[in-house]
Amino acid sequence: MRDAFANEIKRLSEANKNVVLLSGDIGNRMFDKYKSVSPERFFNCGIAEANMMSLASGMALCGLKPVIYTITPFTTTRCLEQIRIGVAYHNAPVVIVGTGSGLSYSELGPTHHSLEDIAILRAVPNINILTPSDKQELTTQLQEAISMNTPSYMRIGKKGEPDLFNESHNLGIGKANILKEGEEILIIGIGPILIEAIEAAKSLKNDGLNIGVASMGSIRPLDDDFLRKMISKKYKYWITLEEHGIVGGLGSTLIEWCSDKQLYDIKIKRLGVKNEFIHKLGNQSYTRNILGIDKKGIINTIKEL
């Protein structure tokens, strides 16, 4: 996904002279192409995220479109106050991109895990929260985020994530999509971890279960029409899937949505990371496995329903 980001931001900077890319000292050769076309609009802001965020707010108030790029914990919780005041309160059109979200940097330990970012930024007004699942969705959402006059936060993966969408899907900010039709049980997920749901659904077909899979795409704005449509399909269960803590993420969002609308018929099961730090480290697949949020974990969860 990060290569898709680098390619698209380069293209957007050529098309829109207000785009400014701010990096928190990462992506060594990643932005070479960007720098070759828009060198005067690239700044390595160093390992100084608080300044980077406020700097971006000031630039946005002067008509520019700053795009901030660094590893997710450092562009979210590290500088939360700067996001809350500089970006959100001012409604400054800054695009905050967190790379290596969730457990993409699993081996690097809790310092590099981002399992609270959605929960925390959901509590802050004004910011769109975008959770693309593959490079096509990332590209579409990035284009829209740059064209909007309000701030956005986008959490993306790292590299090698599989493609999930095709031309039949309607991608964009606030747009959910069905990846696989099903009955009785619908897995609604965000981010590249959705591949685990698709694999699980395929496997469960052999057991005679027809599991639906949907991508939510964005946490804010939430695709209200899509959720209403899913309600009308009378699933027994929604299983929410996210590479994020179960506190305050997609699962919480959908439970709150149902509660606010007084829709109590649907049962919601949250699959995500328990509210604790992870001490046994391994790569992303290993960690998904031990946390029970990989294909196998999803299958077990469904069988136990």
Binding site: V20, E40, R41, F43, C45, G46, A48, A50, N51, S54, L55, A56, S57, G58, M59, A60, L61, C62, G63, L64, P66, E81, Q82, I85, G86, Y89, H90, N91
Partner: protein, 276 residues
């Protein structure tokens, strides 16, 4: 009459008028931070009456100079400055401190009070935003200068030094900041709370040209700004030695006036002093 008095007589009168207004508002609406407001009056007056290229009737002009009061708790002073300069009808300040008013203890985000460029009050935010505005000037190829006033206590914040290093690296020579060095922060002497000294050398070592002045003397403010404008390849920091609570004998260098608001007797006494 000294040269200072002759040349800057008008500015001195305005400063006194502002001090009266601040104290009156503080007394009537129980607005704190008097000491912090009184220490930066001359800096604000010089900027708004002599330096800043901002038309109060067109306060969003694209090439206007940018000013951010990074020490946002000085807002009661800034609001009076903007009112007196005609950014909005001065009667609007009659709502100061009243429920539902936009005039309270800190500047709100732009759009509520003409002339306010950024919401400040959470210390360490305004200055990095000013750095962003200065950088935007270069990218947008516009013609303006960016100014900011910081407090010495505010220099506790790490974000100040992140922004200082960034501005130094980017050689933002259209950026000039004042540090209202009144030697106090909310609950202690600023040099004792954290190791603030030597402040001049700190800013110099972060890549800035630094001037030290008496922040209540207009000729020194004037001269330092002129020098800052001739700087090439470096941003400028003007360390303004000031007195917290300046202008009212019993408030001067008395840190109780960080939070305290005057009672009737104190209000009358302060007003009497300022009349003379």
């Amino acid at each position: 009459m000294s040269i200072e008095t002759k040349k800057y007589n008008n500015l001195i009168s305005i400063s006194t008028e502002l001090r009266k207004r601040i104290i009156k508002t503080s007394y009537e609406a129980k607005i704190p931070h008097i000491g912090s407001c009184l220490s930066c009056i001359e800096l604000l007056v010089f900027l708004y009456w002599k330096e800043l290229n901002i038309d109060p009737s067109n306060s969003e002009a694209i090439n206007r100079d940018r000013f951010i009061l990074s020490k946002g708790h000085g807002a009661p002073a800034l609001f009076q400055v903007l009112g007196l300069k005609g950014f909005f009808p001065i009667e609007r300040l009659n709502s100061f401190g009243k429920p539902g008013s936009v005039f309270h203890e800190h500047p709100p985000k732009p759009g509520y009070i003409p002339g306010i460029e950024a919401a400040t009050g959470s210390l360490g935010h305004g200055f990095p935003m000013a750095v962003g505005m200065s950088l935007a000037k270069r990218i947008n190829n516009l013609q303006y200068r960016t100014y900011s006033i910081l407090s010495d206590g505010e220099c506790n914040e790490g974000s100040i030094w992140e922004a200082a290093m960034f501005a130094g690296a980017q050689k933002l020579d259209d950026l000039t900041i004042f540090i209202d060095f009144n030697k106090w922060q909310a609950t202690g002497r600023s040099k004792e709370v954290l190791a603030l000294d030597p402040l001049k050398e700190k800013w110099q070592s972060f890549g800035w040209d630094v001037y030290e002045i008496d922040g209540h003397k207009f000729n020194q403010i004037d001269k330092s700004i002129e020098l800052a404008k001739t700087n090439k390849n470096k941003p400028s920091a003007i360390i303004a030695h000031t007195i917290k609570g300046k202008g009212v004998s019993f408030m001067e260098d008395n840190n109780n006036w960080h939070y305290k608001t005057p009672n009737e007797e104190e209000f009358k006494k302060a007003f009497e002093e300022l009349k003379n």
